[in-house]
């Protein structure tokens, strides 16, 4: 009996320790990124307005030449546009595939399609980028003109990358729906299509929205694959075929060659902070949606 009590206490202690470790880790990462990112505004004295709403990115210029300017509007627009477009493709596609797996072809859908989707999720992002660079970019160049490196290449690659996230979360949600509702719908004389459209999808709405938001968060944070195909031009895009730059690609391109503490380096940290805030925002949306769905 005494021995058991000891194990109980010790187990409690170990799990508490691990939980505390995770919390401390999260807080310290947020603190680190926050303090680094905010130093652009406090030590380097750039105005928040300039950082968010100017597209003049000239961190290498001396004050004599009108420098250093760290307006990142072009990157913010790049990130947002490429994310929204990829979700616009992937969200309907992913939900439809999930419905197919769960409702229409449960047999081979689960045996064949589910592993295929999981495989898609397992391909490293650099491979997606390399395929995009080698296949997609030349195809866009010959079909639509322009250089090929474009917003279009970026969101096509991204939409494939976030598809597995959306499909797997959606299938879980659809499967979790009470089977009685489906039976009730059939009992009322509804066809399969009517049941799916009027009963199952509306009931799973909050889970499906969660799936889409998670896909969106993934798209917003993806760096490498996007960077390889979007061309990286520090300009606000004018069309779907113009090369763009995202926040993540701006960070990866410059981080190695800037010196810590310089305004240039701080501006990159501020972009990191912006990405962190965006992902917190996405998580908040998911929480709200889930809570509302539960009522």
């Amino acid at each position: 009996m005494k021995k058991r009590l000891f194990y109980d206490k010790a187990g409690h202690g170990v799990t508490m320790l691990c939980a505390a470790f995770v919390i401390i880790l999260t807080i310290s990462i947020i603190y680190y990124i926050g303090s680094k990112g905010l130093s652009t505004f406090f030590s380097n004295e750039v105005s928040l307005w300039e950082f968010l709403f100017s597209d003049q990115w000239r961190p290498d210029r001396s004050p004599g030449e009108g420098g250093p300017q760290v307006g990142s509007l072009a990157f913010i627009i790049g990130s947002i546009s490429v994310t929204l477009l990829s979700v616009a493709i992937s969200a309907p596609l992913g939900v439809i595939v999930a419905v197919f797996i769960v409702e229409i072809a449960p047999g081979w859908g689960q045996r064949l399609l589910q592993p295929a989707v999981e495989l898609l999720a397992g391909i490293p992002s650099v491979v997606y980028g390399y395929i995009g660079l080698s296949l997609l970019v030349p195809v866009i160049r010959s079909l639509f003109g322009g250089g090929g490196f474009s917003m279009m290449a970026g969101f096509l690659v991204l939409s494939i990358m976030i598809l597995p996230t959306i499909i797997s979360v959606s299938t879980d949600t659809l499967r979790a729906q009470p089977v009685e509702w489906k039976h009730a719908s059939y009992a009322l004389g509804a066809t399969r299509w009517q049941t799916i459209r009027m009963a199952i999808i509306p009931a799973a709405r909050s889970g499906l929205i969660t799936a889409v938001v998670l896909g969106m968060a993934r798209a917003f944070g993806e760096a490498l694959a996007v960077q390889m195909v979007i061309g990286n031009t520090r300009e606000i895009p004018t069309s779907i075929l113009s090369p763009i730059m995202t926040l993540t690609s701006a960070i990866t391109m410059d981080m190695g060659a800037t010196v810590q503490g310089s305004i240039w380096n701080s501006a990159l940290w501020s972009m990191g902070l912006l990405l962190l805030l965006m992902s917190l925002f996405f998580i908040m949306i998911v929480r709200c949606v889930v809570r509302r769905g539960a009522v």
């Binding site: 170990v14 290498d60 250089g147 990286n232 520090r234 391109m253 410059d254 060659a257």
Partner: protein, 303 residues
């Protein structure tokens, strides 16, 4: 019950492992910095060399050979970019900081003045184009006009009727800084597409019609055409004798004069062992062979 014990033992094991790993990490760091200060003369101890990815392959190979000759030494070579190298050596976190640019161009004046420069080799750069544009020589003014967006089609230079597509490195890149300062005389480039690594830049130029960019000579492999500048080919000989102007030093900085193992390793980098074999094999130009010198302001003088 038995299973409970196993799970518990596993958990304790994980926690212990975590403690050991973090403990070792910090312990090793202390040891390293202490040794770096204490050791003098004798070929033992350990140093770190951080920075420039352009110089990294050379330093790695040299460190490997040096450690084979002096088994008691440990030289840790890391990449991370010129900016990282300079800030790490300046803050004392690393013994040697590798960079493709002069410290004065990146650091504040008072920080840069504490660093001692060791120029280990020279790397040449050339404007390169897609072979289909059928141009292999430009004047410097034409090159500036291309990169500032005044010339937009290769037929204006007597080549094929293809639109010019600029492929730049990011503005933080040392290659870009050198190319802009010397080949473009500081002219502001028009916004083209940017790629981070030289390998990707080469791939894009070889596949995109009308593309032009710039690469270190060590990246030329026949898939892209290097441009002659005012009729002068970007070759090793032309760089050594000062005819072809677009080249940069690869620097290895130490904070204060190099001492102990850092000094020994830097001497080794400049010895014939490295300069006559490794440097040449990897596509760099030995600094010992250069007949000219260049200072921070870009003034070139005979050596």
């Amino acid at each position: 019950m038995k299973r409970g014990i196993k799970v518990f033992a596993l958990l304790v094991g994980i926690v212990l492992l975590m403690a050991v790993v973090t403990g070792c990490g910090s312990g090793k760091n202390n040891q390293q910095s202490e040794e770096g200060q204490v050791q003098s003369g004798g070929s033992e101890g350990s140093i770190t060399a951080v920075g420039s990815s352009a110089l990294q392959p050379l330093v790695e190979e040299a460190a490997k050979q040096f450690m084979t000759d002096n088994p008691k030494t440990q030289i840790v070579v890391q990449g991370g970019g010129s900016g990282t190298g300079l800030s790490q050596v300046s803050s004392g976190a690393s013994d040697i900081g590798n960079s493709d640019v002069f410290a004065e161009e990146k650091l504040k004046a008072e920080e840069a003045s504490q660093l001692v420069d060791h120029k280990v080799c020279v790397v040449g750069m050339a404007a390169v184009v897609n072979p289909d544009v059928r141009v292999d020589n430009v004047t410097q003014q034409q090159l500036i006009d291309i990169f500032t967006g005044k010339i937009t089609n290769w037929k204006e230079l007597g080549g094929a009727d293809v639109k010019i597509q600029l492929v730049n490195r990011p503005s933080s890149s040392g290659t870009r800084a050198t190319f802009k300062a010397i080949a473009l005389k500081g002219a502001e480039e028009a916004k083209g597409i940017e790629q981070d690594s030289s390998g990707t830049v080469r791939k894009i130029i070889s596949e995109t019609p009308g593309a032009i960019g710039y690469l270190a000579l060590s990246y030329l492999d026949g898939s892209v055409t290097p441009l002659k500048l005012d009729g002068i080919e970007p070759t090793k000989e032309n760089i050594i004798n000062g005819k072809y102007p677009v080249w940069a030093y690869e620097h290895m900085y130490t904070k204060g004069d190099a001492t102990g193992l850092a000094k020994e390793f830097l001497d080794y980098m400049l010895s014939d062992d490295v300069q006559k074999s490794l440097v040449v094999d990897l596509g760099y130009i030995p600094s010992t062979e250069m007949q000219i010198e260049r200072d921070v302001q870009g003034n070139v003088t005979p050596k």
